[in-house]
Symmetry: C3
Subunit: 416 residues, 3 copies
């Protein structure tokens, strides 16, 4: 493992990261300040809790979600935190600068960090697709491009396509999934043998993956309701997400049992399916007026997720050479897309009284959905081409932890 | 392992689960809606946090609590979530229908889901007794019966025996423990050799079990105070639970050291004893007026828990053939019973001024306690007899995960 | 392992712990009560959340932080909880008695338990230095002395050196680190061979250590803002801590990559560096007026932490025979000291208008900082000498868990 270690990372990573961090500090020095006006303690507490839940999802949930690949369990958690820390700093600055579109000092409060954390989550989702295929240096570039692209997409959507902030943020699952998939399509394919070795281990999910999944499952209602302002909408979002998650859990066990010739349950299916329930109600959660619809959506998401992994994935891998290790397409991509469409339909029905403006607004909403996907694919293509350049001299391995600390851990060393 | 896989589960589980889920969705479609009246955002937040704590206990706490049996660690977590998801849907409907006793539409808010989650926790406690002795199909039936029985017991207790809602819910530990123990008594006994093999591994608790225990320990104050309305009672419940837990922790280490001939500490003792402290103050927590009483109760609970596992369990296993793998009787059963009795005594002392009504109310309270236990035993007996029918063709194994995903995980494969 | 088991612990630990617990209960019986006046439900909730976060850090964060030493992973968690439970009971009583300085009944509310939990955290930090070098009996004595010393230090600081409560509590990292280091300096040195065996395994951190680190990382903003009263200060503390943590994470990866000849990343570095970011902004967090300063402090903390472990630790170990297994000095000691100094400088600048009183107050603040360190060293010296007495008949091993439960766990048995 040590011998394959890449020179480009060893030489370029420390100065690059240092430069980035210094730039961030300088920009923060010149362009940011805390707001002078002081809110109430109660409001502070409320914001802090929502922020904490989102932060918890990003660190513990996504951190432990991708630990099941034997070779990447350290990298997954440490890189996840590193990318999150980078991404949040960038997203705070971008949100401030792009929204102001000027160089005045911007004020930073807890809400702006919360939104930045949510934006940076896109990197963590995409990392699930590319982990193990790129090195740390490439991940840094991917983070910079993806956060910028997603912030720009959100800004354009909100300013020119009249999207609500909540909806524009909820498209994150879809954006991140298609961004990641496009990047991985562009990357040089690993040799089949190596790929197979990795796939094999990808089938053995660990209790830590379960832990990450549970954290995500549990906090999904907070994520889906974080940007809603009205108490009524917030409550509906929480309850609908909860119902969708409960049904997708039942569906996961059911479908996994059906999918196996002997009725056995595959834990990877469970991981994917339970999250799909939260993703699918993301965008429309505040518009669903009674539990049954959320339950049906949760059911459909579970079916899509496990059916996708079981039947579509193998097909895609053969035809497009798409190597989606964790099934991100079926956990985040398709359910996110479905959620977006359901949201548009519900908005149509909701405002269904005035027929004339209806179609126009519906088209714009569809356009916003399409725009998000197109931006994801374009920026993903750009990233993929950039990461494919020869300068990375990449052998496509990101697990270059200290041999000593890696191999001495018996839990991990066993099994080779 | 694959060869022992039961045909009944393979064939019947998917259609049964699908049918159940469809029934749930249909009932939700016809009989539920969200409340039209909108609460304040502050109230929402308060309810959401309490709900989240209970949810966290149910998923992470109970999910990881029973992972120490080598063969059941996957099943434990996935089945736990599955049973929780089923149980919550059923409990929401039952609570609504039974309380209304009519077929009008019922409104569902966060509090009703919170109560449903607490009710469904009973299944998770009972599952600790029967896990490894029944299959998934049997677990589904057990869930349906237990949640129905517990909801009915609570309803009768509140409507006809003048129990407070808080107390009726806190009897859950006792109910679930005696329900589970009765079920396991009725089941056919596994062969001695297999049983011994399982016992052996039951002695090696893992760090994940510790994680589950810690989540439960930490959130127990939230559970014990969740249904109390007055701020003063809520605060007392939190503080008393905290003191009881702290003392039961100290007692656990102390007793475990005493129980071993060489003074060594057994982690299984710790798991049981620290939870017993939270169980024992469940019912009376809001009536305890100074910390020392909670501390004494925590101490007694620790002694009961470890003394029970050490001295009574072996005796019961010989005489009644009761096979209580995780010591649920000593963690939830006896401490819950003690808590119930202490609650009744404290209520007597509390209202001790008017002598005439005193005895009458005291008798009713005792009757409610007895009624809960009797309901637990009767419904447990019913479940046990049902699960014992030949139709299950059970070889009494619930661990039928995909061999591939199970055996490839080195952590688990090692040790055989 | 069984043969080395110490008679002193076996014989003396149970009666000692029992006596202590009985004394606590008696003191609580005579001297404590709950407050009669009832607060609002909203205030209760707010306090409860802050309390819960601190409690979570103490149990899950510190519990899992020190699990990486192969031989101490059980001891670490169980002992951690035991010491926490003991320490909190003692700290509640001490805070009450010392602040009142009389024997009247004291009232205990949630805030006093929160402060007691924070004080008891000092034991958990120090335990990171001495774990594996002392037995359980010695740990109990260490807990009693350290909590008493820290409470006395805080009291003197607040009453006679005009320290704010927040600052006096934030010196806990520094206090605990230097206390622990002094204790370990006094202890008899383990034989070199055994020491080397332990060091070797100390290099293989586990995912559980990562879990503990993440819990601490995530909740650090709560810890740093727990004792601040004004909403504005609270918010600044949260935001500054967040920025410092984010930058220290980036710095950790960067420095770890720089420190290794081949650019590989060492997970032990990451654990240390990410926490150092939270420690350094502890004392001054409410005085920092814009993000960049917190970011610079986080950067410096990361550099100190990894630089210290890499270059200074080996030197200290050779010269002073200081054996700091987990690098507590560089995670808590030095960053805490730096934070204290920054706090004094910021207070000077903040009140910089009235020149005359300035120097005087600055000197007092410096004195308070020095006083805390001196108290830590003196009480640590006292503890170290006490623990070095022959009565302990110590072979310096604290891992005396039930052989059966320990060795049966394959995960741990492998690797020997």
């Amino acid at each position: 493992m040590g011998s394959k270690y890449q020179k480009s990372v060893r030489v370029w990573f420390p100065p690059l990261a240092l430069t980035l961090e210094v730039i961030f500090i300088v920009v923060f020095f010149f362009f940011t300040s805390y707001p002078a006006a002081v809110g109430e303690k109660k409001t502070l507490l409320r914001t802090y809790r929502a922020f904490q839940d989102v932060f918890l999802m990003a660190t513990l949930g996504f951190g432990f979600l991708n630990t099941s690949l034997r070779r990447h369990c350290w990298s997954s958690i440490a890189f996840n935190l590193f990318l999150l820390a980078l991404g949040v700093q960038l997203a705070v600055l971008l949100d401030g600068l792009l929204i102001q579109l000027s160089l005045r000092k911007m004020t930073i409060d807890m809400l702006s960090i919360q939104k930045a954390t949510m934006s940076a989550t896109s990197v963590l989702i995409s990392a699930g697709v590319v982990l193990g295929k790129v090195n740390l240096l490439q991940l840094v570039f991917m983070t910079l491009i993806e956060v910028t692209a997603f912030s720009a997409t959100r800004l354009v959507g909100m300013n020119y396509l009249s999207m609500e902030e909540h909806v524009s943020m909820m498209y994150i699952h879809m954006f991140a999934a298609y961004f990641g998939l496009t990047v991985v399509c562009c990357l040089q394919k690993p040799l089949p043998s190596a790929s197979e070795d990795k796939d094999q281990t990808a089938m053995s999910p660990s209790l830590f993956t379960m832990l990450g999944t549970l954290f995500l499952w549990m906090l999904w209602p907070s994520f889906n309701s974080a940007l809603l302002e009205e108490a009524d909408e917030k409550k509906k979002a929480v309850l609908n997400t909860y119902y969708a998650l409960a049904v997708s859990m039942v569906t996961a066990i059911l479908m996994s049992s059906l999918a196996h010739p002997q009725g056995k349950i595959n834990m990877t299916h469970i991981h994917n399916a339970v999250l799909a329930g939260g993703v699918v109600v993301g965008a429309p959660s505040h518009l669903i007026h009674s539990p049954w619809l959320a339950m049906v959506l949760g059911f459909v998401a579970g079916v899509i997720s496990i059916g996708g992994v079981k039947y579509v994935q193998a097909c895609l891998q053969r035809t497009v050479q798409l190597h989606d290790t964790y099934g991100v397409h079926y956990t985040f991509g398709l359910p996110g897309l479905l959620g977006g469409i359901v949201n548009i339909v519900l908005m149509e029905l909701h405002e269904g009284t005035t027929k004339s403006t209806l179609d126009y607004q519906g088209l714009i909403n569809l356009g916003a959905l399409g725009f998000t996907i197109i931006m994801a694919v374009i920026s993903g293509l750009l990233t993929g081409l950039l990461l494919n350049l020869n300068i990375w001299k990449s052998t496509h391995k990101s697990h270059y932890f200290d041999d000593q600390s890696f191999w001495k851990f018996p839990h991990l060393a066993v099994g080779y």
